[in-house]
């Protein structure tokens, strides 16, 4: 019987011995750690991919630049179901936003997330290229250049939205959590340096084919031209404003990089000679060049310089690499052709981002605030770009309906205060609304910089540098392509050029593409064009007021200021 003592005592002893440190050494399940993962360049290259992947962050880049911030401009009204739909954007539309608006300012964090990915790559690449014996050194150089482009790209986005922001040129560790703003000039110098270092190692678009999703030499040059143009405009238009201190007019440099793109022969204005392009939207006759750019078939077209690649991948709304822009912009309701009394609305997209009457008038050269135009008033619909940009009552949308098949369905305008709809990113609901799931996964690429933008940048830079004839040539290329897209005779070539002509041409060519507000700010025309406008959704009583010194930039999100423990300070107008 005494033996019975020994059993538990023995077991206990055994257990104590067995309980070494190994017992506590548990590794994460189904996840690699930093130490085990970064073994070779192939692994590191996946982090480069992640730096691109952030571009598709579903509701950040889609929402903000194309809707949220764009709606501050005179050409766009938020729309949606009613005046309470997406209140944050409604507030921006009315210029009543504040640092407290919570969700709209996520773009701050997501841009920095993209930047972190580039820094995660750049901080490790030297060690990997030294230790990975099989590595292709040219490819490593190209990737480094791509990461520098993306780092500049994300910073540029932050800089146009918020002004001077803290530069993140390395991985931010907790000791750097309270970092103040850099000056706008410092941010611009940083981006310009990154891009200039990147350009030699990037490949031309034709060399990349079919990997158009990668950054090309042209993309870096175009972004550099854009950045130089912004710096020059700020410098010229805001003398003495401390936010822009140190910025310089660098028009010839801007022109140089724009012309490097133009002269590279890699790009063209699609349809400038009146070509028609096959599209499922019009399989018989084809569509004009300008229209074709904004169809699914026009993804990565010869005019494309830098597009965010979107695919309908069926991964569901939190994960998809699809874009929401398509859903946002497509008309909310339409009718079945078999329903002539229009008694039963069918639901499509969400009807955000509506063109205003100011936008409509501009297409007819009838916006009375545009002074000094060399174009004469016409019917807006004569400009072939009008129908591609703006839908109006009576317009139809191509739908492949389960019961009626593929037909053009009349759009409903009954809930649209402007009686217009934005059509540039329109798709058939079957195309973005993942046919089987309830997920919106717009397959259409976001056209960030297209060749026409670069030609217009060249025109502007040339004009500002004093080369009017060159500016006129470039403007007329844009007008010709527009004209040839519908062969209506409009817009006609200009024989003389004013600055207002350049402003006007950008407004029409890039209509509803989200650049108007930022352009107005750098030209210091925001007060002129935005103050005094009314919003169709709110009737006549509400007049939007643009305050100079404040509304040029969006405020830093309130909680970022708190998290920085006061290191970040709002610009004066927002204090």
């Amino acid at each position: 019987m005494k033996k019975i003592y020994s059993i538990p005592v023995f077991l206990t002893m055994m257990f104590l011995v067995a309980c070494s440190e190994d017992f506590l050494d548990l590794k994460p399940i189904a996840m690699e750690t930093e130490e085990t993962f970064y073994k070779d360049f192939d692994a590191l290259d996946m982090t480069a991919t992640a730096a691109y992947g952030i571009l598709c962050t579903r509701d950040i880049f889609d929402y903000y630049i194309f809707m949220g911030y764009a709606s501050a401009a005179d050409d766009v009204e938020v729309g949606g179901e009613n005046t309470n739909d997406w209140p944050q954007f409604q507030a921006v539309d009315r210029l009543q936003h504040s640092p407290m608006l919570s969700t709209i300012f996520d773009s701050w964090g997501y841009c920095y997330k993209g930047i972190r990915m580039t820094n995660e790559f750049l901080s490790r690449v030297d060690k990997i290229r030294a230790t990975d014996t099989k590595v292709n050194q040219a490819l490593v150089d190209q990737r480094i250049a791509e990461m520098k482009f993306l780092r500049a790209f994300y910073h540029f986005y932050l800089a146009v939205v918020y002004g001077g922001v803290p530069i993140a040129d390395k991985i931010v560790d907790p000791s750097m959590f309270s970092t103040p703003r850099n000056s706008l000039k410092e941010v611009y110098d940083f981006m310009i340096k990154d891009l200039k270092e990147a350009i030699p190692y990037l490949k031309e678009k034709s060399q990349l084919a079919p990997n158009y999703g990668r950054v090309s030499k042209g993309a870096a040059r175009a972004l550099l031209a854009k950045i130089l143009l912004y710096e020059s405009s700020y410098a010229k238009n805001y003398p003495g404003d401390e936010r822009f201190a140190g910025m310089q007019e660098r028009w010839t440099e801007a022109l140089q990089y724009a012309e490097e793109v133009i002269n590279s022969g890699e790009y063209q204005l699609v349809g400038i000679n009146g070509e028609r392009f096959a599209s499922w939207r019009n399989p018989n006759g084809g569509v004009g060049g300008y229209r074709w750019i904004f169809t699914l078939d026009g993804d990565n077209s010869p005019e494309s310089i830098w597009e965010i690649q979107n695919v309908m991948d069926g991964k569901g709304w939190t994960y998809t690499r699809g874009s929401y822009i398509v859903t946002y912009f497509t008309v909310r309701y339409y009718y079945r052709p078999s329903d002539p009394t229009h008694s039963d609305r069918v639901v499509g997209g969400w009807s955000f981002n509506l063109p205003t009457s100011y936008m409509v008038n501009a297409f007819g050269n009838q916006d009375s605030r545009e002074t000094g135009l060399h174009s004469v008033p016409v019917d807006p619909k004569l400009d072939p770009r009008f129908a591609t940009s703006i839908g109006r009552p009576g317009d139809t949308i191509l739908v492949n309906d389960q019961t009626e098949g593929e037909k053009w369905f009349p759009m409903s305008f009954s809930n649209l205060p402007t009686q217009t709809i934005s059509r540039k990113y329109e798709c058939s609901p079957q195309e973005y609304w993942n046919g089987r799931t309830n997920d919106n996964e717009g397959p259409m690429n976001v056209r960030w910089i297209r060749y026409a933008d670069v030609v217009l940048m060249a025109a502007e830079a040339a004009y500002m540098a004093g080369d009017k004839p060159k500016a006129l040539t470039y403007i007329n290329q844009i007008r010709k392509r527009a004209r040839m897209s519908g062969n209506t005779g409009y817009p006609e070539d200009l024989t003389d050029i004013s600055f207002e002509d350049i402003v006007h041409e950008r407004r029409l060519e890039l209509a509803m593409e989200g650049w108007r507000f930022f352009d107005l700010v750098r030209w210091r025309l925001a007060k002129k064009y935005i103050s005094g406008i009314t919003l169709a959704a709110l009737g006549e009583g509400y007049v939007v007021d643009f305050e100079e010194g404040k509304h040029e930039f969006f405020p830093i999100p309130y909680n970022e200021i708190q998290l920085s423990k006061g290191a970040l300070v709002q610009y004066k107008g927002w204090q």
Partner: protein, 1063 residues
């Protein structure tokens, strides 16, 4: 030896089974008679006592006295002993000897404090306790028809706050013992029969005793797990003696206690017309508002819901072996349509003495829970809860259109609440079994050794089915979909414990305990989705019924996590003659959650007691004081309630990092660090001090306890919220694989408070009564946190974060602007044909113009307070508006017994907290996208409104107390966070009232029933509160966002009738 152990188990199991069978078919035990012993039982006044229990010790034989107090009983030999017991009287034992006629006098029980309290790894007499331990009577736990035992703790013990996250059946419960101990969660550790367990799987009827260890000196023996306090539950064990069975059954009806008054059809239509007139619309949607129909959507989603509970417990045993079997089944439907909860519990406790110094036993439990309907996150989310939708949906729209489909309001995008209730097909179930086997050796007197091995295995299944539906343009499903998740969990725990008690020289009582334990746990899950089912019938809601294999979203997911740890612990107790008491505990824990350098945590504690009532001078001078004890405790406890693997820097290979480069739909996989790791993450340390005073008066009829406590949590584990600049923003943790921010020991939190409980128990003639009262004051402050402010909480449409947790301030306090009434016409001037409020703060710009603080304000808008007086309304003017955590808790329980009848009344309440009533935003909306509050319709400020032809449509109402209807939202009246939303959250609730009738035993014993009680009961019958929402008990799943009401699922009012039968 081993074989006989197994045999003993089998024997007990067989015997238990046989007993159940016998009971069920109605047989009673035949007794083997030799001679008959007769007797009478009387009380001290020589009055006969009917219904007294008489049993023969160590056997199953027994009887009860009749109305005259007489009994007769068969006895077998002279060595037998009778046990005579009656509720409220001290039991006596009388040897049979050769007597044939007995007269027994029972003395009324003086309340004794030799009640034994279960503490960590042991038991202690209540009188000798030196830590802060509250006990909850097991009969109180079953009074309120609660779906789980943690819910039943509400109001029952001082210092314990318990609140359901939602009012849904089976909801999770938030428990805080003495305030917010840590922002990583406050729920205490639950220990059932010596091993950690999930309180939801415990049947309240199986509980023998429950103690709550509140301070570190009592909880530190649980080290890392004791930081939030420990609730120790002992389940019922068999006793040697006759087999007894208890049957508890009730059935109940639940209903919503309150509806919120929203506008009816005509009121809505009138308001909508006003809205359109303000926008100067040409045509009105409702030209004749009075003719508009009304549908009450609260009626359409709420219902009167049944609930039932059945419970059977059987116990008994012999000198050598005892057993207890318990089976319980609860089925409860929710007052919200299409929600329900079912729970089945089974428990078997066996104990077998093998020799005089060696016994073995087991505790086995199984719990099965099934949930139907809305999940917690949906009920707390304004985009998903049908309760808010019922308040918001337009009352003129019928729930179904003419073709029988769900309607969709033409004036907005609020989903049809009836549709969302009806299309819901969510079911989840959890099955969990736990088995402990133990052996106890007592080789010499006072020394015992226990070895216990416990294993748990559980699995859960989630079933979701989405039919084809359309609710709104952004909430629709074109194809049927099935989603399933399976999860598994298992753990083991091995405990060893040695205890030794000895008394030296008759006055020095020494006890010692030392233990070692090690454990391991692992969980895994798998889930998948498939679309496009053959049809929507129930049998087709399986993956194999999917018609389409091409959709990528059908990818399965699965992962897991595991943890391990081991601990050493010990306790040394000393007391001198039971007057001076001292105790010291120590525990050393090791856990896999921490990196190699930080694995161990040490948790010491001690406590002292002085029982001054034992001093002769006190006995002489204060004779009415029957008990008095002063005690003090100090201790350090820990917390490791953080996710596994935080010290690893992990790589996410995530869909959200992938990208398509090649102009096709092929995506390259992206991977990157998805978490900022912290190698130096270490244990939290909570230092607690407790000073307690226990007093008993008048033979302990009155018993008072008062405690002062102070707790300081140092090095609290917190997510260090990285700024956006660091690039770790995560939209949702499931999307990007968990928490991205580093977790570090950077927080401090402090709690101070007072607890008082009083207990009075006495008799007035035949009426016996008792009153318990408990009161708690607790003040919780964030000592220091990093960053200095944590922002949390949002509500759709209201701009900014709602709560802040700031150094030195309460946790999750609401911050916002102060409203100072409405601007009046006399505050305004007309400047350039525009009405401007000139009676308000302003600044002067460079050109000398006045810039008003609220530039677009009009009469009828809120005046926001310019707190810092700088002439502008900016974020700097946001001030604390209220603490959502109650400072005061109280509970009161009154029990009366008179003859056949018993009555209990239980009151519970909280005070000192504020609620952010976010539902007001939706019901005071500015554009008719939702329905309006009926109050707002009647009571809003209005100027004269004319139609386009100049006819007066709506007359002015300058007396309106709510802001004007403003489609343009010019002054952000409602989209600004302000004290307009804050309401007092104090309430006093009649939690339960119960009236019972017990049929005298003398009658029922003839049919073999020892006790037969029938009762009617009502829960949540009355609530006294000034809160205007559904229910002041606004639950939350986020500690930093408490008291945020987005139309909380209210606690149901429950009426029940029930039976308690003992055989």
């Amino acid at each position: 030896m081993k074989i006989s152990t197994v045999q003993a188990f089998l024997r007990n199991a067989v015997r238990g089974g046989a007993v159940i069978a016998l009971l069920l078919i109605g047989f009673s035990h035949p007794a083997y008679a030799q001679r008959v012993l007769k007797g009478t039982v009387v009380d001290e006044n020589n009055l006969p006592l009917p219904g007294v229990n008489i049993s023969v010790k160590g056997t199953t034989r027994g009887t009860v006295t009749d109305l005259e107090g007489n009994f007769s009983l068969s006895v077998q030999d002279e060595s037998e002993v009778l046990v005579i017991s009656f509720v409220g009287y001290s039991p006596v034992e009388i040897p049979v000897l050769n007597q044939s006629q007995l007269k027994v006098t029972l003395k009324e029980e003086v309340r004794k404090l030799d009640e034994v309290v279960v503490i960590g790894y042991g038991v202690q007499k209540k009188a000798d306790l030196t830590g802060a331990v509250a006990t909850v009577a097991s009969e109180d736990l079953v009074k309120v028809p609660a779906s789980s035992i943690d819910k039943a703790l509400q109001g029952r013990a001082a210092g314990v706050f318990a609140q359901s996250v939602t009012g849904a059946p089976g909801s999770n419960v938030n428990i805080m013992i003495r305030g917010i101990t840590s922002i990583n969660g406050t729920n205490p550790m639950w220990v059932v029969d010596g091993v950690p367990a999930d309180p939801k799987t415990i049947n309240p009827n199986d509980i023998e005793s429950m103690s709550v260890l509140k301070d570190a000196s009592s909880a530190a023996i649980y080290g890392a797990n004791g930081g939030n306090g420990v609730v120790i539950v002992s389940t019922k064990k068999g006793k040697s003696g006759r087999t007894t069975a208890t049957l508890n059954v009730y059935t109940g009806w639940q209903e919503a206690a309150k509806y919120i008054n929203v506008a009816n059809g005509p009121e809505f239509a009138t308001m909508y017309k006003e809205y359109e007139a303000l926008l100067r619309r040409r045509r009105f949607t409702f030209p004749n508002p009075d003719t508009v129909a009304t549908y009450n959507y609260q009626d359409l989603i709420f219902r009167t819901a049944p609930m039932q509970s059945y419970d059977l417990g059987i116990s008994g045993g012999t000198d050598k072996s005892t057993y207890y079997f318990g089976v319980g089944y609860l089925t409860q439907e929710g007052i919200l349509r299409n929600s329900s909860y079912d729970k089945l519990t089974v428990r078997m406790n066996l104990d077998q003495k093998l020799t005089g110094w060696f016994r073995v036993g087991e505790n086995m439990s199984f719990g099965r829970q099934i949930y139907h309907g809305y999940q917690e996150w949906q009920l707390l989310n304004e985009y998903h809860t049908p309760i808010l939708a019922a308040l918001n949906y337009h009352p003129f729209v019928p729930p179904y259109d003419t073709t029988g489909n769900w309607s969709f309001t033409p004036l907005g995008n609020t989903g049809n609440p009836v549709a969302s209730v009806e299309l819901l097909h969510h079911k989840s179930q959890n099955n969990s079994g736990k088995l402990s086997v133990f052996a106890v050796l007592e080789p010499i007197k006072g020394l015992s050794y226990e070895n216990k091995i416990t294993g748990t295995a559980s699995f859960g299944i989630t079933d979701d089915f989405y039919p084809i539906y359309f609710i709104t343009p952004s909430n629709r499903n074109p194809n049927s979909k099935v989603y399933k998740q399976s999860d598994w969990y298992y753990d083991w725990l091995w405990q060893h414990r040695v205890m030794y008690n000895v008394t030296l020289a008759g006055v020095h009582n020494i006890s010692a305990m030392a233990g070692f334990e090690a454990g391991y746990a692992k969980g895994e899950y798998m889930n998948a989705t498939r679309w496009d089912l053959i049809n929507e019938s129930r049998e087709m809601r399986y993956f194999n019924a999917s018609q389409n294999d091409t959709l990528l979203s059908q990818l399965p997911n699965g992962a897991g996590n595991e943890s391990s740890g081991y601990s050493y612990y010990g306790r040394l107790g000393y007391d001198y003659k039971g007057i001076f008491l001292a105790q010291a505990n120590f525990r050393r824990d090791a856990s896999s959650k921490f990196g190699p350098r930080k694995r161990f945590g040490n948790f010491p504690s001690f406590s002292l007691g002085f029982k001054f009532s034992e001093l002769s001078i006190v006995k002489e001078k204060v004779p009415f004081m029957s008990f008095g004890k002063l005690r003090y405790g100090w201790g350090k406890v820990g917390n490791n309630a953080i996710p596994d693997y935080v010290y690893f820097s992990t790589i996410g290979v995530l869909d959200v990092y992938s990208y398509s480069f090649d102009n096709t739909t092929t995506e390259a996989l992206g991977a990157a660090p998805n978490k900022l790791a912290n190698l130096s993450v270490a244990w939290e340390g909570e230092v607690t001090q407790n000073l307690g005073l226990d007093l008993g008066f008048f033979g302990n009829k009155l018993y008072l306890t008062a405690e002062l406590f102070k707790r300081y949590n140092e090095g609290m584990l917190m997510e260090v919220q990285a700024p956006g600049y660091a690039g770790w923003i995560v939209r949702s943790s499931y999307q990007e694989g968990g928490v991205a921010n580093p977790i570090a020991n950077v927080g401090n939190i402090s709690n101070k408070g007072i607890e008082i409980s009083a207990d009075w128990k006495d008799k007035l003639g035949k009426l016996s009564y008792s009153v318990n009262f408990n009161f708690t004051y607790v003040n919780t402050k964030a000592g220091e946190i990093r960053p200095d402010t944590i922002f949390r909480g949002s509500a759709k449409g209201i701009n900014g974060y709602l709560t802040r947790t700031i150094n030195g301030q309460p946790i999750g306090e609401y911050y916002g602007f102060i409203t100072q009434g409405l601007f009046k016409p006399e505050d305004a001037d007309t400047i350039n044909n525009v009405i401007v409020i000139t009676n308000q703060p302003y600044t002067i710009d460079n050109s000398g113009n006045k810039i008003y603080a609220q530039p677009k304000a009009k009469p009828g808008d809120f005046r926001f307070k310019d707190v810092n007086g700088d002439g502008r309304i900016t974020d700097a003017d946001m001030v604390p508006m209220g603490n959502p955590n109650p400072k005061y808790l109280f509970g009161m329980n009154i029990n009366l017994e008179y003859g056949w009848f018993d009555l209990s009344v239980f009151l519970q309440g909280v005070a000192g907290n504020k609620i952010f009533n976010a539902t007001k935003f939706y019901m005071f909306n500015m554009d008719g996208a939702f329905n309006w509050s009926a109050d707002y319709v009647k009571n809003h400020y209005r100027e004269n409104i004319y139609d386009r032809a100049g006819n007066l449509l709506f007359p002015e109402n300058h007396a309106g107390k709510y802001p004007r209807l403003d489609p343009r939202n010019e002054n952000n009246n409602f989209s600004t966070i302000s004290d307009f939303y804050m309401e007092d959250g104090a309430y006093l609730r009649l939690k339960n009232i119960q009236l019972g009738i017990t049929i005298p035993q003398v009658w029922t014993s003839r049919i073999g029933i020892e006790r037969f009680r029938f009762y009617v009961s009502a829960s949540n019958l009355l609530t006294f509160t000034r809160y205007s929402g559904y229910d002041p008990e606004v639950g939350s799943s986020d500690l930093l966002v408490r008291g945020l009401d987005k139309a909380a699922y209210p606690q149901a009012r429950i009426y029940t009738v029930g039976l308690n039968v003992n055989f």
